[in-house]
């Protein structure tokens, strides 16, 4: 975290924000958060959940969307480099199993001329 001690509102400042990997590539959104209870202290963010099943906790439309898509990817909080208006990760998306939809689509699109 680049600005230690800065207060972060998890609802407004983290949830639903853009995830960007080490190389500046967009690789999903902060779709949900997993918190762990700390005995005698404030709960801490354990991991970020991305895609599919992570939408289940996000309202009626979210449940529907989750039912139609696959599993979520779990990113441990230790993989987070920085939180600004985007959440920057320490590794390339591929190593965190993110951005796989774009990778699949790229195999199709790269067959077209001029791509």
């Amino acid at each position: 975290m680049s600005s230690p001690g800065r207060e972060l509102d998890l609802g407004l400042g983290l949830l639903d924000h853009q995830l960007v990997d080490r190389d500046g590539r967009n690789c999903g959104k902060v779709d949900d958060l997993e918190l762990t209870a700390v005995p005698g202290g404030e709960p801490e963010v354990a991991s970020i959940l991305v895609g599919g099943a992570a939408w289940r906790g996000r309202g009626m439309l979210g449940r529907l969307a989750a039912a139609l898509s696959g599993s979520a990817v779990r990113i441990p909080w230790s993989e987070v480099e920085d939180v600004s208006s985007v959440v920057t990760l320490k590794q390339p998306a591929q190593q965190l199993r993110l951005g796989r939809g774009d990778d699949r689509a790229a195999r199709l699109v790269r067959r077209l001329p001029g791509s």
Binding site: G13, G28, K29, M60, L61, G62, G99, V109, R110
Partner: protein
């Protein structure tokens, strides 16, 4: 010259965004039905789009976040997804209407069969969008679309009573059916304040990598670009008021305004008008399909952007191609693009509040905006327009049904 090229985004937003098939249809019909009496509505509409475009351009320049990132961050997943679905339906309907408009103009120019020209038009636009970089798309469609200025020349040439024109800028209810009048007020505002304009403008600003140093160009771009759009709207309405109203012509065809230019300026007027309409409507087709792809990619956090080669933002590229394919399928059914336009404008009004509220909230948020957040003028206007938009979004569909689509 550099400044002139820099405001290309604004020119394209004006030509393809402001003056698209919706404005061509609604302004011409408004002039033919109510004369000059609705000119003031265009002023109300254009000030609104300037206020919100400036805001989302500023947010894009400072926070680097385009509109649908904000919708997601502020409305959350559920309400954001609802907004996404509504906006995608409207984008698709509008794109289909614009594609139909392209085919109609190509038919007027060539005389070839309509369905063949739909296919040709879509393939042509997809290839151009695939091949040309973003700034060349802006320039090609924006600057060639300036042929529409022929309508301003024609409007002056037909010699309207300028006293009556000036009177049209004073808000009020005048002659004719009140409900039909209100339907046109809502339609003209809806045609001026289409949601895809702000999606495209803000995503374009992020693509053009605007920063703090571009805030001035953002102001100039939104005022000049949309001001130009309003000027063209006035011209269309004045021309229709002078030529069509006295003869009882109800302009049901996209080509009708071009006939107005021909009446005033002869063959060259007709040709310039058709070329202008072709590029304005073609530019709008690109804006709507791209807006659909921007929104989807920004909502789910994919790579997006026309700056990238298609292979670098593959789902984004596939999305806008799919939107064109669906638009093609819709128009191929033979449904009248002018009718489709009226419905898409009225439905887009319903999706507007959910688009504008996150912009207004974030433009006031110091965490995003620092010292560039809204001043008092932007907030007063922003809130006033938000209330107005809420009112028209509630009344849009009842008016559409009650007036039988403005037919009375």
């Amino acid at each position: 010259m550099k400044q002139f090229l820099q405001i290309a985004l604004g020119i394209l937003s004006a030509i393809g965004g402001f003056v698209d098939i919706g404005d061509l249809v609604f302004n011409t019909q408004a002039g033919a039905t109510f004369g000059f009496q609705l000119l003031w509505v265009v002023v109300v509409g254009v000030v609104g789009i300037i206020v919100y475009s400036e805001m989302c351009g500023r947010v894009a320049a400072i926070s680097k976040r385009p509109v649908f990132d904000l919708v997601r961050e502020r409305a959350g997943f559920g309400a954001g997804l609802g907004t996404l679905i509504a906006s995608e339906v409207v984008n698709l309907m509008t794109c289909a209407a614009e594609v139909g408009g392209v085919a109609i103009v190509l038919q007027l120019l060539s005389g070839l069969p309509y369905r063949f020209l739909i296919g040709l038009g879509v393939v042509g636009i997809v290839v151009v969008s695939w091949v040309l970089p973003f700034e060349w798309l802006e320039r090609l469609f924006g600057y060639v679309g300036l042929c529409l200025l022929v309508f301003a020349v024609a409007a002056v040439k037909v010699g309207p009573s300028w006293g009556q024109v000036a009177h049209g800028f004073v808000p009020g209810m005048h002659t004719g059916s009140h409900l039909v009048f209100l339907y046109f007020v809502v339609g003209l505002l809806g045609a001026a304040l289409t949601p895809y304009e702000v999606y495209f403008y803000s995503s374009g600003a992020v693509e053009d990598a605007w920063g703090r140093e571009d805030l001035r160009i953002n102001k100039i771009t939104s005022v000049i670009g949309y001001g130009l759009g309003a000027f063209l709207s006035f011209s269309l309405m004045i021309l229709a008021a002078v030529l069509f109203l006295p003869r009882g012509i109800n302009p049901q065809f996209l080509g009708t305004p071009a006939l107005g230019a021909q009446d005033a300026l002869g063959k060259i007027g007709l040709l310039l008008a058709l070329v202008g309409i072709l590029f304005a409507v073609g530019g709008a087709a690109i804006e709507t399909s791209f807006s659909g792809a921007y929104n989807l990619a920004q909502f789910f956090g994919w790579q997006w952007g026309k700056r990238e080669r298609p292979g670098g933002a593959p789902r984004f590229a596939l999305t806008w191609i799919v939107i064109f394919a669906l638009a093609l399928a819709i128009v191929m059914t033979g449904y009248d693009p002018v009718k489709l336009t009226e419905y898409s404008v009225i439905f887009s009004v319903v999706a507007l509040p959910l688009t504008f509220l996150p912009i207004l909230l974030v433009a006031n948020d110091p965490a995003y905006m620092g010292d560039s957040r809204n001043g008092r003028a932007s907030n007063v206007l922003g809130v006033l327009y938000f209330v107005l938009i809420l009112a028209i979004s509630i009344s849009a569909i009842p008016l559409l049904l009650l007036t039988n689509g403005g037919q009375g």
